[in-house]
Each structure stands twice: as structure tokens, then as C-alpha cells.
């Protein structure tokens, strides 16, 4: 078994992993970047639509183009890249060292000893079992991301008469994609009274193709023995299915776009404390977990809708991992908590002496809200927001100046809320 030593090991070579690795490399640390697939890029490689990179590169790129820019940078660096290599296990050793096992057909089993680990494994899709759709179990039921991969990477179209469950972005983008390749999409069924994808995707992927969007509806049953033959669609009345108004839609394919969850198997295996609100690791102002020297960024930390935010977050994780390697620690941290109408905030701690960025996920759809930051009960910052909805994450920058006039203690709390205005 081959053994290696490195300053930093990054798990996952998607947008997050590449940005963290590049940052660490630029700071002069030795970095190993581990990617299970044959190529770097992660989920970007199957997103052949436009809409990536407006913030990072000031232009609209496709997913593969966005990935390519980063891959070029990685290639020019001294980062040791291991593709087709799966990290299967992390063990904690003495003196905060970590032992990582990596399985690969080329190298056999690799054993890495490292001082820091950046987790960047991305997320996975929730599936039929998670939402418990009753009925038969025929072929033709796929998660939208799997269907996306089948069409965009493998070149096979999974079906021709399609119903989509869930109006998340992947579902919406797949609705358009399926129309483009000659299939007919009979509708997108969403349990919430509002769509869960970006507004621009509703208009570009559904309206432009006259695909009906059934809000406050559920798919209540799947029919068909060998292959899907139809689904039952039921409207909700006061939040419960109104069976009397169930109708049947013929189709041969059901795509599920019912949410993403951080890929946290490894995190759990090493004993990282998870945030029940995000499903990812609980991290401090350095994006470090409760385990010394283990950082996280990107979809493994919390599910993002914009890759530019992923890159920015991962760059920060890389910076902080570098600082950690040089022995730096924040002197003081204040806690950040979600307030009114906010599902979660990330990270859950900030360093009041530096610039910080906080991501938050709204719980409401509204065109008139004000975002408030309060410190131990006093509002210290207020900002109007033209439009918020759960599918669009909000990023706020917090300047150290706003803390100036306050005496900060260890138990100081910042609460981030969204106040609805009439």
C-alpha cells in the first residue's frame, strides 16, 4: 500500500474542491485533490445549459465551460490530482493528523496522512423512497439529475411522455431538455403553493414550452408493471390531498426533482457534528467543523443554487485552512442564528474582527421584505430586499465596523431575520 504525506487533502473535485485546492496551493501548501470520477468538474459537467459564472468571470458560461476554467487553473498549479479515486475512510490520529484511505484502480489503495482535510463531496438527490410515492415499482422512475446525466453525458433519452415531480431547478431544466430532445412533458407537479426553482427557470423552461405547472398538487400513485404507464395527480386542499379531484396522467417516465441533501456519509463517519437545518457539517467562522483541521465548502456544507457562491465559499475555506496550517485562530467568535422567516444561516459563527460573509436561506416568498441583523436584541443593520424566495439563497457581507460600538462577549449572538413589510 502506497503511503503519502500532505499539508492538505481535498475530497471532491467539483467547483468547491477545485477552488479550495487552488487557494491552498497558492498559499504554498502541498495539496492532494481526490475525485471519484474520471474527470474534475463534478455536477457542472452535466449542466450544459447557460447561467454559470456571472459573478466569478463576469460572463454567462455553461457548466462544462465554467469547470474548464477551473481545471485549467488546477493544471497550472502544483496540486496533486487523483481522478478515478474514491476516498472511503478518514481516521483521526494523534496531534490532529488525519489518515485517509483512497481506492483507485490505478494506484490500488492509497494512504494519505494530512494535517487538514477540506470536505467538498457535493450533494445527492432525494429519491422516491424519501418522498414515499405509493404505487407500483416499474422502470421509468428516475431522479432528475440521473436523467440529466443519461441525456447530457451518456446520450440516451430515458422516455418520451414525461411527468416531473418537484419544481426544483434540476426538474425545470430537465423539462426543457426533454422537450428539446423530442419528448413531451405533460406537467410539473409541486406540493408547495409556490415553485421551488428560480423564477427565470419557470419562465424559460416551462412557460416557453406551455408546460403546465401544478402548484399545491402531489403525484399520489404510480401505475404500470414493467414500465410506468400513468400517474395519479391529486390537488391539495388545506394542505391535504383531495382524493375526489384526483386525475390520471398517462406517461412512461416520472422524473423526481424533490430536493438535494449534502453528501454526509464521510462527515458522519469521522464524527462531525451536523447542522439539522442544512444537513451538512456545523462550521465556525473558519468553515471548520467540530473536528480540528476538517473544513467543508460547497454543496456538502449546504445546498447552493449558484456555482459562483460555491467557488467563493470554497476559496474562503481554502484561505482559512491555510491560516489554520500557519497556526492562526480567531480570537473571538460570535454566534449567528436564523431569525424570523429564515430557514438557516451558514456559517453559524463569525469573526467580528474581519470581513465575513453569511449565506441564508429564506422561508418565505415575498416582494417586500427587509433583512435585519440584530446583535443581542438591537438591530444593527437593515437592508431592503426586492424579492426573496426559498430557492434563492441570500448572501450578506458583514463588515467588522458594525461591531465597533458594541462590547462583544463570548456569548454575543447575531440574529438574521427577514421582516415582511406591507
Amino acid at each position: 500500500m502506497r503511503s503519502e504525506i500532505t499539508d492538505a487533502l481535498v475530497v471532491g473535485g467539483g467547483a468547491a474542491g477545485m477552488a479550495a485546492a487552488v487557494e491552498l496551493d497558492q498559499q504554498g501548501f502541498s495539496v492532494a485533490l481526490i475525485e471519484r470520477e474520471d474527470e474534475l468538474g463534478g455536477v457542472l459537467l452535466q449542466c450544459i445549459h447557460n447561467g454559470f459564472g456571472l459573478q466569478e468571470f463576469n460572463e454567462e458560461l455553461t457548466g462544462p465551460e465554467y469547470a474548464e476554467r477551473w481545471i485549467e487553473t488546477v493544471k497550472k498549479s502544483k496540486i496533486q490530482v487523483f481522478t478515478s479515486s474514491t476516498l472511503t475512510e478518514i481516521n483521526l490520529l494523534e496531534r490532529n493528523l488525519k489518515e485517509c484511505f483512497i481506492y483507485s484502480a490505478v494506484h490500488g489503495v492509497l494512504r494519505f496522512t494530512t494535517r487538514t482535510v477540506v470536505l467538498a463531496m457535493g450533494c445527492r438527490e432525494r429519491n422516491r423512497g424519501n418522498v414515499l410515492i405509493p404505487g407500483t415499482r416499474p422502470a421509468g422512475v428516475y431522479t432528475a439529475g440521473l436523467a440529466q446525466r443519461m441525456v447530457n453525458i451518456d446520450g440516451y433519452i430515458p422516455g418520451k411522455e414525461v411527468v416531473i415531480v418537484g419544481s426544483g431547478d434540476i426538474g425545470l431544466i430537465m423539462a426543457r431538455r426533454m422537450q428539446w430532445v423530442g419528448a413531451k412533458v405533460h406537467g410539473v407537479v409541486e406540493i408547495q403553493p409556490y415553485p421551488s426553482g428560480l423564477t427565470r427557470n419557470i419562465s424559460q423552461c416551462l412557460h416557453d414550452f406551455d408546460i403546465p405547472l401544478y402548484l399545491s398538487h402531489v403525484v399520489s400513485r404510480i401505475h404500470g408493471i414493467d414500465r410506468v404507464e400513468a400517474v395519479d395527480i391529486t390537488p391539495l386542499k388545506n394542505g391535504v390531498p383531495d382524493q375526489s379531484r384526483t386525475f390520471r396522467q398517462k406517461c412512461d417516465t416520472l422524473l423526481l426533482s424533490v430536493g438535494l441533501i449534502p453528501e454526509n456519509e464521510l462527515s458522519k463517519q469521522v464524527g462531525i457534528e451536523l447542522n439539522p437545518l442544512t444537513g451538512g457539517p456545523m462550521v465556525d467562522s473558519m468553515l471548520m467543523s467540530n473536528i480540528e483541521g476538517v473544513f467543508a465548502a460547497g454543496n456538502v456544507l449546504h445546498v447552493h443554487d449558484l456555482v459562483d457562491f460555491v467557488s467563493a465559499e470554497a476559496r474562503l475555506a481554502g484561505q482559512k485552512a491555510g491560516a489554520y496550517l500557519r497556526g492562526w485562530r480567531p480570537k473571538l467568535e460570535v454566534q449567528v442564528k436564523p431569525g424570523a422567516n429564515v430557514k438557516y444561516v451558514n456559517p453559524t459563527k463569525v469573526d467580528p474582527t474581519g470581513q465575513s460573509e453569511i449565506f441564508l436561506r429564506p422561508l418565505i416568498v415575498s416582494n417586500h421584505v427587509s433583512l435585519t441583523l440584530s446583535l443581542d436584541g438591537t438591530v444593527i443593520k437593515r437592508q431592503k430586499k426586492a424579492h426573496v424566495q426559498p430557492s434563492e439563497m441570500i448572501r450578506i457581507k458583514v463588515n467588522s465596523k458594525i461591531f465597533d460600538q458594541h462590547t462583544l462577549k463570548g456569548d454575543t449572538k447575531i440574529v438574521v431575520g427577514l421582516e415582511e413589510m406591507d
Partner: protein, 484 residues
């Protein structure tokens, strides 16, 4: 007899490759016989044998006068040796029946005496303390228990796969996608002519009807006894390995007038099953699951194990018990059709009893005139498939040196390597479900979201099958519509 019929001539044909047919075929493979095993589905174990509780029962549920009770206990005792030969996942973890009140205590005393009479070795009546010591995951409200240490758990489809593999290694011939649909017998010779739906034909002197839910229809095709099999559906929920609710023993509630109650069953692979329900239905293909009963199922299970939670559900499924009037197994030489053995009505504990049924049917065949002569070169053991999941990194390194495909992890949730997928394909499993049952790829928490595309690629590469023949489980269950 025309020449070309010679090579489709068999001494015995076993109809149905579930656990019963597979056990019979394997037992017969020890003798100098030409044996065919025919199955209507694309793979073996795609019927009732794939969807059940996977419990090796402990011999206290039914009265000793039933044939099924005798075979259950005999079968139970055969599993240790079978595992040594066939390497399927099996654990004698014991069965615990939990009494939650005084009335239920009386019921388990009754079961205890029945178990003792039947010969359930080591069966024990337990105090509250002893019960909780045996299973700390039980609710503190438990008042006592019945413990059957001979009970256990297996992965039923892996058991069937290994039985069939063993049979094939010893010369049995397997016909997949062969639905027996027509039977002819010419009075002049001793052969049945058995046709499938495409008019493929085999000839056989003896026949065993092990067709599960369809044993009644197969019996009719042979002009044999008339009986009716009614499907009784059982629904399950499967909980993720990360659940806090995983017990170390199979946990049974005490059935009462209102409900049979739900079991909490650990699987050999570390997941947990909650179920099954029991509902008489008409359609033998109706494996649909419902949602209405979700709450009551979980309420019932939580009464025993408070940590059971719907949040841990990764999938649900159902299985159909082939129920025959009288509730016992019907295993006899047909009185109407010569040289036909009926093995019907094999509901629970059919999995447990299967190895003993193999023995029993072999004896019936002998009684019906089949000469049995042992094969000198019979091989009881099948080679083990190394699995990455069961190994430490150091051993995996060794595996990869011998076969690099072991280093390529295809299914991340269950840690299945490309080498294991290839092995499944080489052993004849070419559908997504077949590969899933053989390797566990796609059975974990992501349910195939990541690995399905890769597995399809490997199937196409290894078999040369075009994309439109890739299917979930054969027949019309195609995965793709067309290529770009």
C-alpha cells in the same frame, strides 16, 4: 422421438426458480440426472423469494401437526452448513417476542410450550430484565419475552442466487424468460412436452411444480389437481443503516385480535425492515405500495422500539404470500398427473423450510419412481465473491493488485466495486435489479441515483447488449426510449 428433441430432454424439470425451486434443483444436482430449472422472469428469485422478511424462523409459531412446522425446523438446522458451502449472508441472531402487558405474557407462555413441543432448541421464557438485556432497543414498557436463539436472518435473494449457482455448477440447466404456458403429453412415451410463450420447448419425464403464486395455473396446465392460490400482500419499509432503531435480534410483537402487529427486523447488511402488513388481494402482479397505512405501521413498531422513525425510510416494497386453503404447505405426488410433484402453498416459513423441502421433494421423486444415483464429482461449494465492503483497506490493496477493477468504486452508498458488478454479469445477472440483488449496488440510501448510469455502461460493455435492451428486470421494463 425426433433427433433434435434429444438435447432438450430432461429427467426432471423444476418449474419456478424461487427459493423452493432453487433448493430442489440444487438437491437434485447431486445425482446423475439431467435437470432443467425454468423461470418465467428474466432472473431467478424475482418472485416472492425476493420480497419477504428474510427470517429463519424458530419453530414456535405453528402447531407441530403441520407439515410446514416439521420442515421449518428441519430447514432451520440446515443453514449453517449451507452457509459454509454457499457464502450467502446469514446470521443466527435469535428471535425475541416482546410482551407489552399481562395478557401478552400469557400468549408467549403458550408459544413457549408450543416451541418446546416442536423442538425449538434453547427456547427461553424471559423476565423483563432478561428481555431488556437481550435487546436494549426495546421499549422499557416491555413486561417479558420469549427468546428463540435458533432464529436468524438471511438475505433471501442472495441465498437463492447461490443455490442456483451451485445447481448450475453441478450441471442443472437454467432457462430464464421461460414461462410455462402449454403442456402436451403423448400417451406413447413418458415425456411431458413443455412450451413457453414463444413456443420454446423442453421435454421432461418428471416435473416439479414450484411456481409460487402461479402453482394453481401450472397444475391446471398439467391436468392435475384443482386448487386456488390467493395472494396476501405484505408491505414493508426499509430503514437506513444510520437509524438508531436497529435491534440485534428479530423482534416480534404478540399478535392480538385487533392487529397482527409489526415486526422490527435487522438485516444482515445493517439496515432495518419494518412490516409486514397482511392484506388479501386479487391481482398476483400487484406489488404496489400504499401510504395510508404508514402511520399505523410505524405506531405499531414504535410500541416495541421507540426509536423507529419515518425519517430513516429509504424505500418501501411489498411481497405476496401464496396462500392456499388450509394454510399448510401442499407437497405431494400428484394423484392425477403422473410423475408430477406439487410444491404449492409455500407461504411463510417457506424460506426457512426451503432446504428441507428440497430433501422432501427428492424423496417424493424417488417414491414416484425416479432412480437416484449420486454423482461422484458433485461440488457442494461455490467460490466466494470478494466484496470490498467487507474488507479493510490493506486487503483491498491486495484485491486491486490482482484485479484493478476492485479499486473502482461504482456504488458509493454500499461501497460496491466494478469487479463485483462484472462478476454479477458473468454469473448471468444482466438486469439492473438482478445486479442490484447480487451486489447491493443501488440498494443504499441514494437508491441508484449515482451508480445506475455507470452500471448500465458496464452491462453494455460486458455483454455487448444495445442500449434498448437494458432493462430494470427484463420483459418490457426498458430503461431508455432512444439515443440522442
Amino acid at each position: 422421438m425426433p433427433d433434435q428433441e434429444q438435447n432438450q430432454q430432461y429427467d426432471v424439470t423444476v418449474i419456478g426458480a424461487g427459493v423452493v425451486g432453487a433448493s430442489i434443483a440444487r438437491r437434485l444436482s447431486a445425482y446423475q440426472l439431467r435437470v432443467a430449472l425454468v423461470e418465467k422472469e428474466a432472473d431467478v428469485s424475482f418472485g416472492t423469494s425476493k420480497a419477504n422478511s428474510g427470517i429463519i424462523h424458530g419453530g414456535f409459531h405453528h402447531e407441530g401437526s403441520y407439515l410446514k412446522t416439521k420442515l421449518e425446523l428441519q430447514g432451520n438446522m440446515m443453514f449453517d452448513q449451507l452457509q459454509r458451502e454457499l457464502h450467502f449472508p446469514f446470521k443466527r441472531c435469535g428471535i425475541l417476542v416482546a410482551a407489552m402487558n399481562e395478557e401478552e405474557l400469557k400468549a408467549i407462555q403458550f408459544l413457549y410450550h408450543r416451541g418446546r413441543e416442536n423442538g425449538s432448541a434453547g427456547i427461553e421464557l424471559c423476565s423483563r430484565e432478561r428481555t431488556l438485556e437481550l435487546e436494549p432497543k426495546l421499549s422499557p414498557d416491555v413486561v417479558g419475552g420469549l427468546y428463540a436463539p435458533i432464529g436468524g436472518i438471511i438475505e433471501p435473494y442472495r441465498f437463492v442466487f447461490s443455490l442456483v449457482e451451485s445447481a448450475l455448477r453441478n450441471g442443472v440447466e437454467l432457462y430464464r424468460d421461460f414461462q410455462v404456458s402449454r403442456v402436451e403429453r403423448d400417451g406413447a412415451d413418458d415425456f411431458y412436452r413443455i412450451f413457453d410463450r414463444q413456443d420454446r420447448k423442453i421435454l421432461s419425464r418428471y416435473v416439479v411444480n414450484a411456481a409460487g403464486l402461479y402453482a394453481d395455473e401450472v397444475s391446471q396446465l398439467f391436468g392435475a389437481e384443482e386448487f386456488q392460490i390467493t395472494p396476501r400482500k405484505g408491505e414493508y419499509y426499509l430503514l437506513d443503516r444510520m437509524t438508531q432503531a436497529c435491534p440485534s435480534k428479530v423482534l416480534f410483537p404478540v399478535p392480538n385480535q385487533v392487529s397482527k402487529g409489526m415486526l422490527v427486523i435487522p438485516t444482515v447488511e445493517g439496515t432495518v425492515l419494518v412490516g409486514p402488513t397482511a392484506e388479501e388481494i386479487r391481482d398476483k402482479e400487484d406489488l404496489s405500495t400504499s401510504r395510508e397505512k404508514l402511520d399505523s405501521i410505524f405506531d405499531s413498531a414504535r410500541r416495541m422500539v421507540p426509536k423507529v422513525s419515518t425519517r430513516d425510510v429509504i424505500t418501501s416494497f411489498s411481497g405476496l404470500r401464496p396462500v392456499l386453503e388450509g394454510d399448510d404447505f401442499y407437497i405431494e405426488v400428484s394423484k392425477k398427473a403422473p410423475r408430477l410433484i406439487q410444491a404449492a402453498g409455500i407461504q411463510s416459513p417457506g424460506l426457512t423450510a426451503a432446504p428441507a423441502i428440497g430433501e422432501y421433494v427428492k424423496d417424493l421423486l424417488k417414491k414416484a419412481g425416479l432412480p437416484l444415483q449420486e454423482k461422484p464429482d458433485y461440488q457442494a461449494e461455490v467460490p466466494r465473491v470478494p466484496r470490498v465492503r467487507d474488507r479493510r483497506p490493506f486487503d483491498v490493496d491486495d484485491l486491486v493488485r490482482r484485479n484493478p477493477a476492485y479499486g473502482n468504486i461504482v456504488c458509493r452508498c454500499e461501497e460496491v466495486s466494478e469487479a463485483e458488478i462484472i462478476e454479477a454479469i458473468r454469473r448471468g445477472h444482466r438486469t439492473l435489479d438482478g445486479i442490484k440483488f447480487f451486489t447491493r449496488s443501488g440498494m443504499g440510501r441514494c437508491q441508484g441515483g449515482f451508480c445506475t448510469a455507470k452500471i448500465i455502461e458496464i452491462i453494455m460493455r460486458e455483454t455487448g447488449l444495445p442500449y434498448h435492451e437494458i432493462s430494470k428486470r427484463g420483459k418490457e421494463s426498458r430503461v431508455f426510449w432512444r439515443s440522442l
